[in-house]
């Protein structure tokens, strides 16, 4: 038997002896939703809080402040008593493949939606182009290979990256004129993520100027002009929060940030045991003394966090660790209380 024949036989033998555990379908869907949420949260956070500042300042390059995330006592609690019910979420959202815009369900099946103001980009569940909406009106499309959609602070300009064969482009698109403003080929965006030269889109300003780059270089480009080199893009996470927390989402005015924690304000992933995200921590940027925690009802596990307004945070909640379907709570930083935000009639 040749070496290659032996390899074929042995690999087949080993594989045949492997007893795979049962397919963890629900767990994978849940992790997938969490990963999608993280991506969405990152987009929203960058869009609302960081992109404008980066562009206006010619690319800020500071790193997150290493503030302490020491345990705090919950100052808002949902652990006792009935939870009141308020109106449905007022921002675009997808609930179990159903897209809601301005509170109304849209036809078709959908995977996800990101939005800024009245502009939203929804990805269909079936293969196809992503749709750009203004309110409930569809005003444009993004090819299936369009990635990393960013909104300008005024929500009137979108930018995304697009792949065509072996090439990659940054596309800038106006939601007011409903047309493409320009596209720029960027070869470094085709590189593997392990390549230190890889670059990515970081934001777009109201005048259509995009920022992009990586750890080796940064650039700024406005359609109709030539790209300009800028400082490198070291970190585009919100500033002024504990350096060891992830997934901070900042409200549209930049006044408060929020992130998922346990009921003491700590990340359960960093703690012993198999803890879950049972609380939401709030803090003003650079003001650790302002930090407070809202503890959620028993058994709740936090999913995504979306600012509905400058004072209300929508918290996606799973009622048990194996749940696939979720619901929303609306938590107010003013009252430090939450209410149900039903996503279906009577929900």
């Amino acid at each position: 038997m040749t070496l290659e024949e032996t390899l074929t036989t042995e690999l087949s033998t080993v594989a045949g002896s492997v007893q795979a555990p049962p397919p963890p379908v629900a767990e994978l869907v849940r992790r997938g939703e969490q990963a999608r949420r993280s991506r969405t949260v990152r987009l929203v956070a960058i869009t609302l809080a960081t992109a404008a500042a980066i562009v206006a300042a010619g690319l800020a390059t500071g790193v997150s402040g290493k503030l302490s995330s020491a345990p705090v006592t919950p100052s808002g609690t949902m652990t006792h008593g009935p939870v009141p019910t308020g109106p449905p979420p007022q921002i675009p959202y997808v609930d179990y493949h159903r897209l809601y815009l301005e509170g109304d369900a849209q036809p078709g099946l959908w995977s996800s939606v990101v939005s800024s103001g009245r502009t939203a980009v929804a990805e269909p569940y079936l293969p196809g182009k992503a749709r750009i909406f203004r309110g409930q009106e569809q005003i444009g499309e993004i090819p299936p290979d369009g990635l990393d959609v960013f909104f300008s602070p005024d929500s009137n300009v979108l930018a995304w990256t697009e792949r065509s064969g072996t090439a990659a482009y940054i596309v800038v698109w106006s939601a007011t004129s409903r047309r493409e403003l320009g596209r720029l080929p960027v070869a470094t965006m085709t590189l593997d993520n392990d390549d230190e030269s890889v670059e990515h889109l970081a934001g777009v300003s109201d005048d259509g100027t995009v920022t992009y780059g990586g750890v080796l270089a940064g650039h700024r480009w406005k359609p109709g002009t030539a790209p300009v080199d800028t400082p490198v893009l070291l970190d585009d996470s919100p500033k002024g929060f504990p350096g060891d927390v992830a997934g901070v989402v900042v409200d549209p005015t930049g006044t408060w940030g929020a992130w998922a924690t346990d009921r003491t304000g700590q990340d359960p992933a960093e703690m012993p045991g198999d803890g879950s995200y049972t609380g939401v921590t709030f803090q003003r940027p650079h003001e650790p003394a302002s930090r407070f925690v809202i503890a959620l009802p028993d058994g709740a596990d936090v999913g995504s966090l979306l600012w509905e307004s400058a004072s209300n945070l929508l918290v996606q909640v799973y009622d048990d660790p194996d749940a696939v379907q979720s619901h929303f709570l609306r938590c107010s930083i003013t009252t430090r209380q939450c209410e149900h935000a039903p996503t279906s009639p009577g929900g």
């Binding site: 390899l7 042995e10 690999l11 080993v14 002896s17 795979a20 997938g32």
Partner: protein, 171 residues
């Protein structure tokens, strides 16, 4: 079955695909990683990534090829140098010894496959277990057929040398 495309072709839902293909993916992941814990982690990582791009995966001419590419790339990019070094130093053996027909462990090459560098190991698994062509392996790994050929050649040469060394020790 799930919804259909405009061309009328049936598309599997993500849940259906996972239920049907999990075991096969897990076995491939096991051959790549050499142990159950890492195999489960790798297979789950690949399928979570597939979830995020499910519309593209389902539409692909071969969803299996798409997911296989995610899996092998996750394996190769996820192998940290320290871990590879440690694996080589201790010569870690896969955690499932397989008994031969006479009750003895007859796997000559498998322990050495586990010690190959990640890309060579991926090429070996895709070529000799998945029975893929050089072009298909190149597609899965995002490299040229020439790179596949050179990695396969290096892997076979390394395996021959390791066997010879092992036999030398025994004799």
């Amino acid at each position: 079955m799930g919804p259909t495309t405009e061309r009328g072709a049936e598309l599997p839902t993500y849940e259906e695909y996972v239920a049907e293909r999990w075991s096969a993916l897990y076995r491939t992941a096991y051959l790549l990683t050499g142990n159950h814990a890492d195999a489960e982690d790798l297979a789950q990582t690949a399928l979570v990534k597939a979830y995020l791009s499910w519309s593209r995966v389902a539409e692909a001419a071969s969803p299996d090829a798409y997911v296989r590419r995610i899996l092998t790339n996750a394996f190769i990019s996820g192998r940290r140098p320290l871990r590879v070094t440690r694996e080589r130093l201790v010569g870690s053996v896969p955690d499932v010894p397989v008994a031969g027909a006479d009750g003895e462990t007859h796997l000559v090459l498998w322990p050495h496959v586990a010690a190959l560098p990640p890309k060579q190991r991926a090429v070996v698994v895709l070529r000799y277990y998945e029975d893929l062509t050089e072009q298909q392996i190149a597609d899965a790994l995002g490299c040229s057929p020439g790179t596949v050929k050179s990695n396969a050649s290096l892997a076979l040469r390394s395996l021959r040398a390791r066997i010879a060394a092992a036999e030398g020790v025994r004799s």
